[in-house]
Symmetry: C2
Subunit: 654 residues, 2 copies
């Protein structure tokens, strides 16, 4: 077996981009119309890579855990997002260049300009550029604004550092204040910018022909799970915990997206909503993952202004309270396993806990799987949030539907509490149309309030005040208040939700970066070392030439691989075998088989491994059997080499 040196050449983003574009992994959408920022089309290898990642996701999560899969609607009527809080809060602050009308995200502008000034200060002081800090402030590694060497006063440096550390805390007007105080203008034009304005990130539309039903494209798939909660619970025979899962598109009208697949306006998500008893967040399979070691960056470390990671097992993290509960810990470990399985580099993967000020409006705790890459530094690719009972509660309130679990108690709960009993006749006669308001007002009282009212009524008429301030006088004969005994045999509760949410495009891009390298002997020869499980094509079938004498063998091998469930492609184009292999190294195809004159005569076939370029030879039967096991992951390349002797022919050289 040949030795492989994947790090002979430093990572070169330009080369990777050229490869991805040339091989049509993805490209700007509507390119022939000039393109639109933040919208991308996936070509054949990108689509296959994405489909394979999703198939593995489905196997790893949905099948393995018997989750309930959903496919819900993208176009959503406005009331749903009014209840969920998205209409009011799913927004960014933007500013407009007063000269050319360019629109910029307000927080990004402040950040980029102040960081550039600090960088300029360091240059002026002759201090080397700081090493990449892995903290949350470092989401954008690429410099957005060019720095110039201008020294700042020490107090100014301290002030800028302080602003940057709490950037997520500022409101729009505060960001506007900062821009005025620190004379922040649009770096690309030098023009001043206007006051920050809130811009909702949801795409708006209108449902039906009358324009009476405003709608939005969903910015996440989650609401579709919550709205169907009662049906899902019933489908699961009323039992909790259970999880629903959905793969689908979501849309965010980003203000000015410029980070390739990392920040887009339309994207594929895969989301799980795991519904769990708030009093019991243990997980039955936790023991299976307890020993998994993770790289963690918790909120306390970050709050102390540090970025020291901790390596610990999931079991220890939950035991020490670093991760809040078993279910959250279980999913963090499962996310970790999934990302490694599809080929993400474990050394460039960490889990970072959200600090209180950056949490989404619905979350009570959240861990992000962050993957390091050259565009966004440490980038959130999976979020794992505890949304508590937020969503089910707001939808239940808005619709009046009970979104709860009813659990039969083994032992009924007996309790004594005060209740009001009304004389309906007197009530109606006294209060007429207000009768309902009166009973509601009394019944809203707590135990102490009811007992106080009972005391007042014992002495004569009592006065109560409804929530909207109306006063009513109650005569003692209209109601009796007494303590009674209640027996409850059903517990009713709103389940909590643990939500692992995957941005597939971000994962896919990071995976491409981690898989890319160049051959030691020729930097121009790029390779994508994608694992077979996600590689767009598993086996390349290469006839020596497109001559008809190879056709029957090509057909036979294609058919047999297809029957074995191995996705193969034939490349019979009129170029050398070496060029054809090089092209497929760029596509990440892990194995290749060559059919030549020996194949026709002796029914032998060579087998080539992508990374090592090793070639082995065997009978067509043996090679098909071996490559099938390789693709399924049943054996690895060293094992395959023990089965098939090395090939030292000259025809299929690279």
């Amino acid at each position: 077996m040949a030795a492989v040196n994947k790090t002979a050449h430093a990572f070169d983003k330009t080369r990777l981009d050229a490869l991805l574009n040339r091989r049509f992994f993805y490209a700007p959408a509507f390119e022939i119309y000039g393109g639109v920022a933040g919208l991308y089309d996936y070509g054949p290898p990108g689509s296959s890579l994405q489909a394979n990642i999703l198939a593995e996701w489905r196997r790893h999560f949905i099948v393995e855990e018997s989750m309930l899969e959903l496919d819900t609607t993208i176009m959503t009527p406005s009331p749903v997002f009014e209840a969920s809080g998205h209409v009011a809060r799913f927004a960014d602050w933007m500013v407009k260049d007063t000269g050319n009308g360019e629109v910029l995200r307000a927080d990004h502008l402040v950040k980029n300009v102040l960081e550039a000034r600090l960088e300029g200060d360091r240059e002026a002081r002759g201090v080397a550029a700081q090493p990449v800090a892995p903290g949350p402030a470092d989401k954008k590694k690429k410099k957005q604004v060019k720095s110039t060497a201008v020294k700042l006063e020490d107090a100014v440096v301290a002030e800028y550092d302080s602003i940057l550390a709490q950037l997520d805390n500022y409101s729009g007007p505060e960001l506007g204040g900062l821009m005025r105080t620190h004379k922040i203008t649009n770096p690309s034009s030098g023009n001043p910018v206007g006051e920050p304005q809130q811009f909702n990130l949801m795409f708006a539309s209108s449902i039906g022909p009358t324009g009476q039903h405003p709608g939005f494209l969903r910015p996440e798939t989650a609401q579709g799970h919550f709205l169907n909660f009662s049906r899902l619970l019933e489908f699961n025979n009323g039992r909790v915990p259970f999880a629903s899962a959905q793969i689908g598109r979501a849309f965010r009208n980003e203000i000015s997206p410029r980070a390739g697949l990392l920040r887009v306006r339309e994207f594929t998500m895969a989301e799980i909503e795991h519904f769990v008893d708030p009093l019991d967040k243990s997980h039955p399979r936790f023991s299976e993952v307890a020993d998994v070691e993770l790289v963690l960056l918790d909120k306390y470390v970050q709050a102390a202004g540090q970025t020291t990671i901790r390596r610990m097992t999931v079991g220890a993290a939950v035991k020490e309270g670093v991760i809040a509960n078993e279910t959250l810990g279980y999913f963090v470990a499962r996310i970790h396993a999934f990302l490694l399985r599809i080929g993400v580099d474990g050394k460039r993967l960490r889990f970072r806990q959200h600090m209180a000020n950056e949490m989404a409006h619905y979350a009570t705790d959240c861990w992000d799987a962050e993957i390091q890459n050259s565009v966004g530094g440490w980038t959130e690719c999976v979020g794992c949030a505890d949304r508590a009972a937020y969503d089910l509660t707001v939808h239940a309130e808005k619709t009046g539907q009970a979104l709860v679990v009813r659990q039969a108690l083994k032992e009924p709960v007996v309790e004594e509490r005060a209740v009001a009993e009304w004389d309906k006749k007197v009530l109606g006669k006294t209060f007429k149309a207000d009768a309902g308001l009166v009973t509601k007002t009394v019944e809203a009282l707590d135990e102490a309030g009811l007992m106080r009212l009972k005391g007042e009524l014992a002495q004569g008429p009592a006065t109560i005040k409804s929530p909207d301030g109306k006063e009513f006088t109650l005569q003692p004969e209209v109601l009796t208040i007494d303590r009674k005994t209640f027996k409850t045999s059903v517990r009713e509760y709103t389940p909590n939700v643990i939500e692992p949410s995957f941005g597939i495009g971000r994962i896919l891009y990071c995976l491409l970066e981690h898989s890319f390298w160049s051959r030691e002997q020729d930097v121009e020869r790029g390779v994508l070392s994608l694992p077979a499980v996600v590689a767009p094509t598993k086996v390349l079938i290469v006839p020596l030439s497109s001559r008809a004498e190879f056709d029957p063998l090509v057909k036979e091998v294609s058919l047999r691989l297809r029957k074995a469930g191995v996705h193969a492609r034939v490349d019979d184009s009129n170029t050398s075998i070496g060029k054809r292999y090089a092209r497929n190294d760029e596509l990440g195809t892990p194995f290749g088989v060559t059919l030549d004159f020996a194949s026709v005569q002796n029914r032998t076939m060579t087998l080539r491994e992508r990374d090592t370029m090793d070639q082995r030879i065997g009978s067509i039967d043996d090679v098909i059997a071996t490559v099938t096991e390789l693709v399924l992951g049943a054996i690895d390349w060293p094992e395959a080499c023990q089965r098939l002797p090395a090939y030292d022919g000259v025809q299929a050289v690279d």
Copy 2:
């Protein structure tokens, strides 16, 4: 083996709907918010059924034919749909009830009202209701408007018949005229309706924060293929024919959708664009399908006012010119095979050719796979259109990009033609800024025009007129016109496109209707006889009870089936085995295995087949091996019965 009578009870749509709702195959989206017409969510069995249909589609088309898969953007900037013709023409005519504001589709209103009057006439004449005519006018079998027995004059009957026969031919103003002439009002209110107005069916939105980029949600995935044509061609090494394929969402803002999954505002499509040389529409694999017999309803039969179907082989249909070419015929046969494979009833499937007046604006020939169902009668579920060079041509014109194939010719083509050669110096001096316009005007002349100009110039100055009407006088010295010989070794052409386009939701609904029946002994016991290849769950694992002693076996059997790639679910709920099986008959689960005390003692397991309710018994190993082969389609139930003896135990009775 037990005999099964699936037709003991007539099809009952109400029972099917109740089943689909109860088992959460799908449900109105945003149900707890009151729902929105034409939007549906798929629950766990519906999502799995759809995912399995799509997986089989991918295998049958993309993998089998090495198509190039794409995943393109839904949100589309307006210029794309301006070029494609959708902004101008993807519209329906609607009318508004002048009283209550209800909006109706104009053509549906005319159709429903006139059909009800004709029906009333037949009742008044004592003529039995006509048998269901399978023609195109019969898209809606369900009556939308109640008829009353009123006799019409013979001339009126003839006029109504004539209007209905050419309904697709009327413009909006003509539909308005018909409504006035025939006093057509809104049947549900009795109010008159206003003038028909055009309503574009695309959902509109706006991209980016400034509102300057109007966009639409795509109403089909096709444009994403066309816009990427050059990249696809390059990916395919410049060779034609090839096909791209895409599965994805599309959106149509239907005016008033009321036909369940058959007419929705958001849906999943699967589309193929097969790019082919317009001079050679043969297909290399045509011989494989030539003997497939199809049920055809061609345009000539329909134009003659008849609905006589013809049974013929694809080979004969292409030979006789009924189907235009081999590629179209090949895809019609492949569509046919796909629909049968997933379980559509072949007796309720036909292919109907579009008549000239109903063809979409881009198509030159089109065959619909129509599937009969109780809601829409014969309903278009797959379209197979020859879009010719329409789309590539309009996008090339709009963008100025060449969307063509360049084919090296074996023999260069030699031709002689007239060309103008300019004296650039004189040209610039004489016409200055207009020089470009002048050369363009001359070069736009055809052969005859150029030779005429040559003749004029031979006699002195000549005058030409630019396309915008400007006149220029050419002096003889500014150009020379001569016939020259040209040799072309490359042929450049715009390929034609054959497009099979699948509405997945429609297919899924028809499949559910065709699969549904009730047990002979109990009409309440519904069964969905879905083939294993698409069934949401393949095997139900039923432990006798949820007692812990069965847990190890349940785990073992689950794990082994999962490893064999068989999707199984455990049902250990606290109801009888019979009830659990009945529930899974409704879910279409084809096989069930029962674990009882004998399993614990002897490692035996029973195997039940859904349709026959037959039960067999064998060792756990044998049953797992048998059910795996059953699910993969390697053996059928009679073969399984030869391997495993009948079970006559009493525990697992239904």
